[in-house]
Amino acid sequence: MLWEIDLHPRAGLPDLDADGVANDVIALRLAQKVRVASSRGYLVQGPDLSPERIERLARELFADTVAEDYQLGQVSDANLAAPPERISAGDRTQLVQVLLKPGVMDPVAQSAEAAVRDFGWEVDAVRTLRKYWIADASAEEVRAISTKLLANDAIEQVVVGPLPFDRLQSGSDYQFQLKTVAIRDLDAAGLARLSKEGQLYLQPAEMETIQRYFIELGREPTDIELETVAQTWSEHCSHKTLAGRIAYRDEHGERQFENMLKETIFAATQELRRRWGDDDWCVSVFKDNAGIVRFDDDFNVAFKVETHNHPSALEPYGGANTGIGGVIRDTIGTGLGAKPICNTDVFCFAPPDTPVEELPTGVLHPKLVMRGVVEGVRDYGNRMGIPTVNGAVYFDRRYLGNPLVYCGNVGLIPRDKSFKEPLPGDLIVAVGGRTGRDGIHGATFSSAELTHESESLSGGAVQIGNAIEEKKVLDVLLEARDRNLFTAMTDCGAGGFSSAVGEMGEKIGAEVHLDKAPVKYAGLSYTELWISESQERMVLSVPEAKWAELHQLCASEGVEATAIGRFEPTGRLVLKYNGNVVGDMPMSFLHDGRPPVVRQAAFTAKPNVPLSPLRGLPHQGEGAGGTLLTVTDSLLAVLGSLNVASKESIVRQYDHEVQGGSAIKPLVGIQCDGPGDAAVVRPVLSSRRGVVISCGMNPRYGDFDPYHMAASAIDEAVRNCVAVGADPARIAILDNFCWGDCERSETLGALVRAAIACHDLSLILETPFISGKDSLNNEFSYFDAAGQKQTIAIPSSLLISAMGQVADVAHCVTMDLKRAGNLLYLVGATKDELGGSHYALVNNLVGGAVPTVEGLRAKATFAAMHRAIREGLVAACHDLSEGGLAAAAAEMAFAGGFGVEVQLDAVPTDEGSLSTTARLFSESNTRFLCEVSSELAAVFERQFPGLPVAKIGVVTEAKQVKINSGSETLIDAGSEQLKEAWQRPLRY
């Protein structure tokens, strides 16, 4: 018998889910008018479940009877389908039921099964269910509401009316049958078709190499062999484009790269390490899952940032959820295991107010994408007990079909556990979640361009995570690490076992018995077992002598650990299913057999154009033909622009204080709502040493010159760290390139140019890159109303993430002003660099000069700024970025609950004459606005010999931001008015 238990809010309490849906229906114009009621429910099936027992489960397990009423019955009972009283029923009330598709991870259902068994009763299966009663909308509108709002087709099914089943089915058994793929006789078109239809997404030369290999071998490949090659050679796993041969051309001439990343970013780090010699503080770079640097006498810190863009485009919640889950596994699987200590997340979306009518087919509304991503990261990070301390959100129309989701994690790792080495003869042990059919082809799918059909084609690549499973795995693995129970470990990320075992066994060889892998349900083929990307799994190499103890430890905390094979010193990857050999290939072919990809890259510098009105678009502000906004209105508009506006509504949903080490929080100031530059945490509670996390990114500059975009992003990430007190001599950075289709030489050229900037700035600033990742093919294609194919490529988006260190967090400073009468100093030179600025954005201006970085002066400025902060000379410090001086002064004022009076004539410049607009809004790099008490002013000034620094104003008791040029007052606005402009756009 299949029971259903529905939970409704108790009379008088709000129906939060329904209210949210009703608001969204109107906001997204899915119906003119609507009333909604909702319930959440459980389908429960089991041999021991009498009506009395179901009633008891409803009361004592499923419902919170103080807040909820329950209704129960058999699944087809009419009383369960009747509209609840709170939605006064009309004849147009329709019932919509939403369930996860079979096979999609449902942690709640899993927990429910275990919890029912804890009552002592057997249960076959539980499924969760959401119900919506929708009144006043037409059948067609209800259909739109269902598919656009209530359910995501990638993971959920919608049933209008009663459920069409009366039993919960489990999977059917799998009948073994060895499959081979005829590849030897295919022509070029056949190979191309196989690559695409088989979702292998390999290049023609690669398909030909595989074909040749099997022709020489005299047999056809099995399906699992072909999949293994495709996964190993995928862009996601091998980074073949950027680590490949590139012929690059720009205004300086031609340059040939054998391995572009190695010769730019990686080379800079190598050079720095040589330079430092015995003082080298890098530990492991560009090698393991995460980069590792020295922290203190006992610990190192590891840092990694990943992207999960394509899954998040299809199913924002699940994509972001597994994005953060995946990068956490990256640091857990670094060395012999790091303890995650904080997260950082950066998102790029189309504006949430994009008109519904402008959405191409197959595109989720950016508002829903944003909400899903934010909640997906929240629910995983919070449950893992890892503070999310830093982040950013960028908006640009070009992220419409292809949002970006960067997730990062820092881990703390004992110095003697920072390296791993699997040994021949070690057992291959899978730890954690079971393998299911979820997440098939994620690794190869990330090489594909998103289209309006992606959702149906690649639904299998979308998953939901189970954070508690991962937390359990983390708890036992850290204990196992400290007991020396394994020799190496890595995570099962993209490519599943195929990738994890293939990587770990590369230098040894491996034999895997796929039938041994624990499954979520019956019916998985040997190939599905091998390439599934089911979440929350780790692979360990375990010496035979330690296996019993490891197994016992895992079992004691309810974590499944299974030996699925052995690292055999054969140099081969041998895959078996129930004794049958299903795959057998040399590791050398997998890891070294890929033909080198050779690509053309070109960069053509754009001609400089002066800052001028964007043709065809009126200026904002009054007056036909467009006049510029007034200075004050420009400041208000910049503060209210989406990139600058307060992200408090997101930040507060993330636990940024768990683990107890929070020292500088993301929001600071007298009302705890000012925008901090970087976060600081103490990972070791008995110590005051801190880790500083910040980021830098500015896709708008990339439209001018990717070199200066990259340089600016590095400068921004580093100066954010320095602004709170980090030592610039101990800042490590990561690169994450999200780019469009790099088959286009101009697109790849832009990337190479950015990588060259990374190399140059890293060397000059002596700031090493320690890890990185790229995500290419970030484009979305659709057919417009006229039947024409349209492609939206994202702007070139380089995220620089920085991890600094501070000897004692008690020396850190925040950006909020502290005391009236203190002086304001501007550090760094202001130039006429309004190109790509937010001033240009809010005034619809194009052209202008993009900000550049003067490397040597930046290095000296960062060192001096750090000295001043460490010596306690600085009461508040804020970096200048979007919106320039005007925005920084306003933010410092309203964060501290004060006002400022600033004289623009005093602003340090390199050029004699600089417009007031540039002085106010230029986004020149390497600048800080500092609050200094008058007693310390002279000492403060002495910290910057030969560097641009000047006293430009004073902190005032009156909450008024007053900016003068000579005797003229340009801006005179209330701090609270400016704050409101900044807070309003993205408020809850």
Partner: protein
């Protein structure tokens, strides 16, 4: 004597380390123990004077916050817990620990109609991390002796204290159980009650005052650098949360 603290871990607990650290800073000896060990050996609690249920998401809070672990305690450890309480020992639940206490029946909130109070979803429907000001509203609770006001952070989605009806709330109030309340601070314009809790309740104790649950996190304010405004206040020595742990330790002095 140095009291021994059992910090109970379960799948999804995630504040156990800093909570054990806070107890140690207050002079106790703390040990983190997995609930599976206690289920295997219910008598192990006999060696401890204080039981602490730390924050986190026990079993993912998958069927409501604290529900699954609360049921495990009810089903398998009710005798051990009753003995622990009756021996005059202390029980503290922080955040998820408070939610577990509510669901486990240890806070004297159940009557013949079932539970008379719960911790419902925040009024906003969302997880919230922010700092709050708290005042102590009764002298009933061992953990709050000598404390009038506290500044602590909250971080939860299901923390709205909700009574079944006014009569139930009156009953708790009369018994002095509604001991910790959200309070207005002078320099803060935000709503002082962050989640819509009935009668501003942030924490409650049982009738004996020895079992105490609270939504805010005292273990997150031990060191001055944990306060969100430490950079703008005159130097102070320690966080407000430490006294709460010290009170527990001194109870056994």
């Amino acid at each position: 004597m140095t009291p021994r603290v059992l910090v109970l871990r379960a799948p999804g607990s995630n504040c156990d380390m800093e909570t054990a650290y806070a107890f140690e800073q207050a002079g106790a000896a703390a040990e983190r123990i997995h609930v599976n060990r206690w289920l295997e050996m219910p008598q192990l609690a006999g060696d401890f004077q204080i039981l602490c249920l730390p924050g986190g998401f026990s079993y993912g809070d998958d069927l409501g916050a604290g529900r699954i672990l609360g049921n495990q305690l009810r089903h398998h450890l009710s005798d051990a817990l009753a003995a622990f309480r009756d021996q005059g020992k202390l029980i503290l639940g922080i955040c998820n620990g408070f939610q577990i206490l509510v669901k486990s029946g240890l806070l004297d909130i159940d009557d013949d109609q079932g539970p008379a109070a719960t911790l419902n979803w925040n009024k906003s429907g969302r997880f919230i991390d922010r700092w709050v000001t708290l005042r102590v509203a009764s002298d009933r609770c061992v953990f709050l002796q000598g404390i009038e006001q506290l500044n602590l952070p909250i971080a939860h989605a299901e923390g709205q204290f909700l009574g079944r009806d006014e009569a139930a709330l009156d009953r708790f109030e009369d018994a002095g159980q509604l001991t910790l309340r959200y309070a207005k601070a002078d320099d803060d314009s935000r709503p002082y009650n962050p989640n819509g809790a009935a009668r501003d309740v942030a924490g409650m104790c049982d009738r004996s005052g020895r079992v105490f649950g609270l939504m805010p996190h005292p273990e997150r304010f031990i060191d001055r650098t944990q306060h969100p405004q430490w950079t703008r206040r005159p130097k102070f020595d320690e966080g407000d949360g430490l006294q709460l742990f010290r009170n527990a330790v001194q109870y056994f002095a």
